[in-house]
Amino acid sequence: MPPVSSPILSISGLSKQYKSGHTALGGVDLEIERGEIFALLGPNGAGKTTLISIVCGTVNKSGGTIAMDGEDIAHNFRLARQRIGLVPQEIAVDIFTTVWNTVSFSRGLFGKAPDPAYIEQLLRDLSLWEKRDAKMIELSGGMKRRVMIAKALSHEPDLLFLDEPTAGVDVNLRRDMWALVRKLREKGVTIILTTHYIEEAEEMADRVGVIDGGKVLLVEEKAALMRKLGKRRLTLTLAEPLAQVPAALSDWSLSLEEEGHKLVYSFDAEEDDTGMPALLRRLDDLHIAFKDLDTSRSSLEDIFVELVEKSA
């Protein structure tokens, strides 16, 4: 067993050029820590699925290396594959088989001896037990997605990839899913997920990686990222609406919202001098009265949009 501190997955210089000539990955370096939940964020076409697919062996890489516990996965592909579970972005199932059969099939396919008790527990955890004898064709989309998760977990992987697992999923299922993810993490499973619901990454992930145009733009502890890039907003609800921001306030980056009823000041939370006290004094001097005051921290979503815009 390798030391706990070493990364479970090390990707270096990974590149992918599809036959169409499109470069989906342009030299990606990424290390995934053992036991963490890592969220990979990026707009459509960023290369998230391509990255995951190469690690899981469903897409050929063009260059670079992938190591699991320090060993190139090409050297002992069986060992690596057996430890990896994948819930793909698209639901793909043999619609004529039953839930129980398809999940058992996956377990066998990944080289594990049958274990009906484990499969039963898995199906119960995913609220699929009642449906175990139903054919896939009889299930709703959300149910099918649960089955995809059950299949990915059927062989007890310790590295799980979830490619947009909550896309098109209702609130209940999403909550179940995150409960399951937390439970898995407690068991020591490392989880890499992509999602467009950025609040979820914000809520779930230990670390966040931002990818766009096939390049990893940044990898950061979620909390550090929030601190580092987090903008704060001061919103003042004015007593009297303003037509425009007075010239006397041009030292601050201000904007008006809601037809001049709200004055918004955005500032860097990390700066020693946020400029907020001075602004409030100046407003007092100018006799601009406000009824309410509110500050908020920007969400990961804001950060993400900003980063992607910067790199574009």
Partner: protein, 256 residues
């Protein structure tokens, strides 16, 4: 798990066999009915006006050819659908991401397709005994040819399934090449009955070698030597294996 992924092979093999059971009517009944019709038409209606071929009644004479015809078409269609279906539904990702190497995947898929063909071949053989007197002079060879042909053409079907990008392509090679070659391959006649020119042409038809060897194992008579039949079947199997090896090395039509 060490060495071989036995559970993986078994998972695919048994799910393929389950698919056969689900479609039992189409999988088993169709070839049986078709064969019975061949006996009634060729063996009964036409055969009664044909002379014996090499001392064997016409009905009995066509049995090996009929079995061969089913083995070829069934092996190809079973194996090609078996691997094309996951490509079509997208479930291929799971096979590709599994700790399963090329040899194991081939054993599982081709093994299941060949098993089904052998079962069908034996059912046809059993059916034919209701219509005619069948003797088997060399049962070991008969079983050998049955197995080899099923495996070789299941391999071929597997390649077609990987190559095909649509259901149309899936059936194009069987219907445009294999069926004509089989009909012209001496399934229903001895190529000795043909004019010399056509006989020479027939010798370029690979199916002639298959049918001939198989018929020899029944009645001890064949259009070409047993060694040639055996050599052809083995050679064809080797060629398919080589192509498959290349496919899995490169991920051709399997992985983007």
């Amino acid at each position: 798990m060490s060495g071989i992924n036995i559970h993986g092979i078994w998972a695919i093999y048994s799910s393929e066999m389950a698919r056969t059971r689900r479609t039992v009517l189409q999988s088993i009944a169709t070839p049986v009915i078709t064969t019975a019709l061949y006996f009634i038409v060729f063996g009964g209606a036409i055969g009664s006006r044909m002379q014996h071929v090499g001392g064997v009644g016409y009905g009995a004479f066509i049995v090996p050819g009929l079995i061969m015809l089913s083995l070829l078409t069934q092996s190809i269609s079973n194996a090609s659908v078996g691997i094309y279906f996951p490509k079509f539904t997208g479930t291929m990702f799971e096979i590709l991401s599994a700790p399963l190497n090329a040899i194991e995947a081939v054993i599982a898929y081709v093994g299941a397709a060949a098993t089904k063909s052998v079962i069908i071949g034996l059912i046809i053989l059993a059916t034919s005994t209701f219509f005619t007197d069948v003797r088997i002079l060399h049962p070991v060879w008969m079983v050998g040819f049955l197995l080899m042909t099923s495996i070789a053409f299941s391999l071929f079907g597997f390649i077609i399934g990987i190559w095909a990008k649509s259901f149309e392509q899936l059936s194009i090679i069987p219907s445009l090449i294999v069926t004509p070659l089989t009909f012209l391959g001496g399934a229903f006649y001895s190529i000795d009955m043909l004019p010399p020119a056509w006989r020479t042409v027939s010798l370029f038809n690979p199916v002639v070698y298959l049918v001939s060897g198989f018929r020899w194992s029944f009645y001890g008579l064949g259009d070409v030597g047993v060694a040639a039949s055996l050599g052809f079947t083995a050679g064809f199997m080797a060629l398919c294996l080589a192509i498959l090896w290349w496919i899995f090395q490169t991920g051709w039509r399997l992985k983007p």
